[in-house]
């Protein structure tokens, strides 16, 4: 039986986050038990509240799907950081915290004076994690960046899309998630360093740099394999042995990726070893992949078009071929595998109602990933946090509300 103690239950995190990157970093920690207090601007709140999707396409600041997903398990307060009292209250809160996660735009950091030094003066043991597109140092440190900019500067966008058309960013702001995940892991290492040194520090994570670093190994490998840096992939890779391709089938798409000869052979047999497959031209997987993959795609299309993705996937799995259905979100939602593993979490929210959320990305046997509470309504925990943690009175709270601090 797992214990009731969550892995990070002794860690308090203050999140000054907007949209995806810093909120997802804080969510990863909250889902393993950290006490995350999210700070939002009064009235406006996190812009993810306006992002959607919304139930029945009825916009409501407490019902945005992106916000609800990224902020469950957190407590939420409002603070107007443009006021001195707002900033002082934030720093007071930081004296009782282990970690601050922030993704303020550079001009905001400057205008508010909320740089690492300001946080460190308030609490020298604090880990301050900045997760931004370009990072907090370097020639572009003052530059504004969204996920698409980080993805562009990282070298990732240059590889995705049709070579004849514009490069594509990674969908669903994946660049922000890249920064967020890296920042979560980096923050943990800083917490380990603090055990040794007793000191906090600044953890500066640029999502562009995280992506460029990790994709560089692949790019260098391609360089070694084919001697040039290729352009965009299109619907297939054209620099390794066949197949690495995404093709239509009867009711959707099917993904065929392997580097091993035996997988391809099994697939040829699965197709009934058609006449063409016996020609020398279709025996050289290297030439097929690098010189005329489009032609091979056309050869196998009739077989793919005769079957649904579920039929093809079942056949491939039976025959130990690692080719996969291109699952849509409907397929994923109905996946028997995810149900068998109790992946989905159904949770009630006072405004948005009962909804199904993505579940644990990893199963920890002793200190499990858990969804305990839905995302906070704007300012929901003002009293709990400001009175409970910082000792303000109810009367103070009224004054703070009147004067636009909370």
């Amino acid at each position: 039986m797992p214990s009731d103690r969550a892995a990070l239950s002794d860690i308090r995190v203050i999140e000054v986050g907007d949209l995806i990157s810093a909120p997802f970093t804080a969510k990863m920690m909250a889902d393993l038990g950290a006490d995350v207090i999210k700070v939002e601007a009064p009235q406006r709140g996190d812009s993810a509240r306006r992002h959607g999707p919304f139930p029945g396409d009825m916009p409501h600041r407490e019902k945005s799907g992106l916000f609800l997903y990224l902020n469950s398990n957190k407590r939420g307060i409002t603070l107007n950081l443009e006021t001195k009292t707002g900033r002082d209250t934030l720093l007071e809160l930081c004296r009782q915290a282990d970690v601050v996660v922030e993704n303020m735009q550079p001009e905001q950091v400057r205008a508010l004076g909320l740089d690492y030094e300001a946080f460190a003066r308030a609490n020298p043991r604090l880990i301050v994690t900045s997760v931004t597109a370009f990072g907090r140092k370097g020639p572009y440190k003052e530059y504004k960046g969204q996920a698409i900019n980080a993805t562009a500067l990282s070298g990732v966008a240059s590889r995705i899309g049709d070579p004849e058309r514009e490069p594509l960013t990674t969908p669903l702001s994946r660049g922000d998630y890249w920064g967020a995940i890296s920042a979560a892991a980096a923050t943990m290492t800083a917490l380990f360093a603090r055990r040794r040194t007793g000191e906090g520090q600044h953890v500066d994570v640029s999502s562009a740099e995280c992506m460029s670093t990790l994709i560089s190994s692949l790019n260098v490998m391609d360089f070694v394999d084919v001697g040039f840096v290729p352009s965009r992939y299109g619907s297939r890779l054209k620099m390794i042995a066949y197949p690495w391709t995404v093709l239509p089938c009867k009711d959707g798409f099917f993904t065929l990726i392997t580097i091993q000869e035996r997988h391809w052979q099994r697939f040829v047999e699965l197709m009934g070893a058609p006449e063409w497959s016996k020609e020398a031209r279709y025996k050289d997987r290297d030439a097929m992949g690098k010189l005329y993959p489009e032609e091979v795609d056309e050869r196998i299309k009739p077989f793919l078009m005769s079957k649904t993705k579920a039929e093809l996937w079942a056949l491939c799995r039976e025959n130990k071929i690692p080719f996969h259905a291109m699952q849509t979100m409907a397929d994923v939602a109905q996946s028997p595998h995810l149900h068998a593993r109790d992946y989905w979490v159904d949770m009630e929210h006072p405004d948005a109602g009962r909804l199904r959320y993505p579940g644990a990305p990893y199963k920890l046997s002793e200190s499990p990933w858990r969804l305990n509470r839905p995302a906070p309504r704007l300012g929901e925990h003002n009293r709990e946090v400001l009175c409970g943690l910082l000792g303000y009175s109810g009367v103070d709270l009224v004054d703070m509300r009147r004067t636009g601090i909370i």
Binding site: S158, V224, P358, K363, E366
Partner: protein
């Protein structure tokens, strides 16, 4: 200098890409990471690292085997399995990404390793996790992005093809794995208890699709590719610049940034067009707006345009190639503080640095990759106390192999 994970020891049974990336994160941050590998099951990454000369140096430096010790043990021999358990008894963490059941077959799964080291933290990464009807799902990282639902988003808006997104599943899951392992280690420091972590690529990748999952959950709407469109920002896209295949990514959020953008492009006639008067109007006329923006960008040199737009407070960046990433002054600057302790390595050789910048304990590239089995004697004699003669005999018997 303090390294954050100094004093922790890791047995790294990682294969191909995801496992080894996780191993180097821990090693860069100071853990002593021992790769347990074998010539009997050769690894594609190792094959590549055998490349000669300058490229080899670059790969060693940039690649995923740096900072680690290497022991070769052939799991098909019972004695090698026993020695692996002995090594694990000296470790805090085990990471592996074999197909499920492979380690059980060798007698090296969590129950077995836990006997060797009761408080071990062990992470298994696999395509679909260690249980459930699809646990035997085979596949390379990139193809699991198809299973997760992600790749059904990769393409141009309104186009009937999908594009391949060949790269990010393995390193993304490795980074998530690093967070999970370190959290479990943190838990062990508080409670003394080790544990087992089952990381499924399928589930991990689906957990990054929150907005699409929620749209299905709320409205039964199935997400389709949106290309470079964003639900709130407009213009938001990749636009052509002067020169062949040169591009600029621009993202404009809200009305203030729009005004700044209009000023930056020199108050062109179209910036006054009422179709573009507010955010809602611009979302309705995205394509027309993109055409106008492209007319402007086409006349610009991409770096100049980036700096110019940024000076007006507009988010813009070039679309970098590998070469650009290597030469870009910002990227170069970010690599400047990389701590390199291996004298064979020049700073300029390194593209693959340490992207987590910890201001006081930054981690280090302490050494280039060790060759297969380079540390056999060091570990087997030093840590396990075996006699040199015995190690040599086991090498001849292909136990140490």
């Amino acid at each position: 200098m303090t390294l954050p994970l100094e004093g922790y020891r890791v047995a790294d049974l990682g294969q191909v890409w995801a496992g080894p990336v996780l191993g180097h994160y821990l090693a860069d941050m100071g853990a002593e990471v021992i790769r347990i590998e074998s010539s009997a099951g050769s690894d594609k990454m190792r094959e590549i690292a055998k490349e000669p000369s300058e490229i080899r140096k670059m790969l060693d430096a940039n690649f995923v085997f740096r900072n680690r010790l290497s022991v070769t043990l052939n799991f098909t021999k019972a004695r090698a399995v026993e020695m692996t358990k002995e090594i694990v008894s000296h470790c805090d963490i085990v990471i592996e990404n074999f197909s499920p059941r492979v380690l059980a077959k060798f007698g090296l799964d969590y129950p077995a390793l836990r006997k060797a080291r009761p408080d071990i933290v062990m992470l298994s990464m696999s395509a679909a996790g260690q249980s459930g009807p699809f646990r035997d799902l085979m596949g390379y990282g990139p193809s699991i992005n198809s299973v997760s639902g992600y790749d059904s988003h990769v393409g141009y808006f309104g186009d009937n093809r999908l594009m391949v997104n060949a790269w990010d599943a393995d390193p993304t899951m490795a980074t998530m794995g690093a967070f999970a392992v370190l959290s479990a280690l943190h838990h062990r420091e508080s409670t003394g208890a080790g544990q087992y972590i089952d990381l499924s690529f399928f589930e991990g990748l689906t957990s990054l699709l929150g907005e699409s999952v929620m749209d299905y959950s709320m409205n039964r709407r199935v997400a389709v590719p949106l290309g470079n469109r964003h639900p709130m920002m407009v213009p938001h896209g990749v636009y052509p610049c002067k020169g062949k295949d040169k591009w600029l990514a621009i993202a404009v959020s809200g009305q203030n940034e729009w005004r700044a953008f209009c000023k930056a492009v020199g108050e062109q006639e179209w910036t006054e067009d009422e179709r573009f008067a507010d955010v809602y109007a611009r979302l309705q006329h995205r394509e027309e707006l993109d055409t106008c923006v492209a007319q402007w960008t086409r006349r610009q040199e991409r770096y100049e345009a980036m700096h110019h737009l940024q000076s007006h407070g507009v988010a813009a960046s070039i679309v970098a190639s590998l070469e650009d990433v290597y030469l870009d002054p910002h990227d170069q600057f970010r690599r400047q503080d990389l701590v390199i302790e291996d004298g064979r390595l020049e700073r300029n050789d390194v593209i693959y640095g340490i992207p987590w910048h910890l201001s006081k304990t930054p981690g280090a590239i302490r050494s280039l990759a060790h060759g297969l089995g380079q540390d056999n004697k060091g570990i087997l004699c030093g840590m396990l106390g075996m006699a040199e003669g015995e190690v040599e005999r086991l090498m001849q018997e292909q136990v140490v192999y």
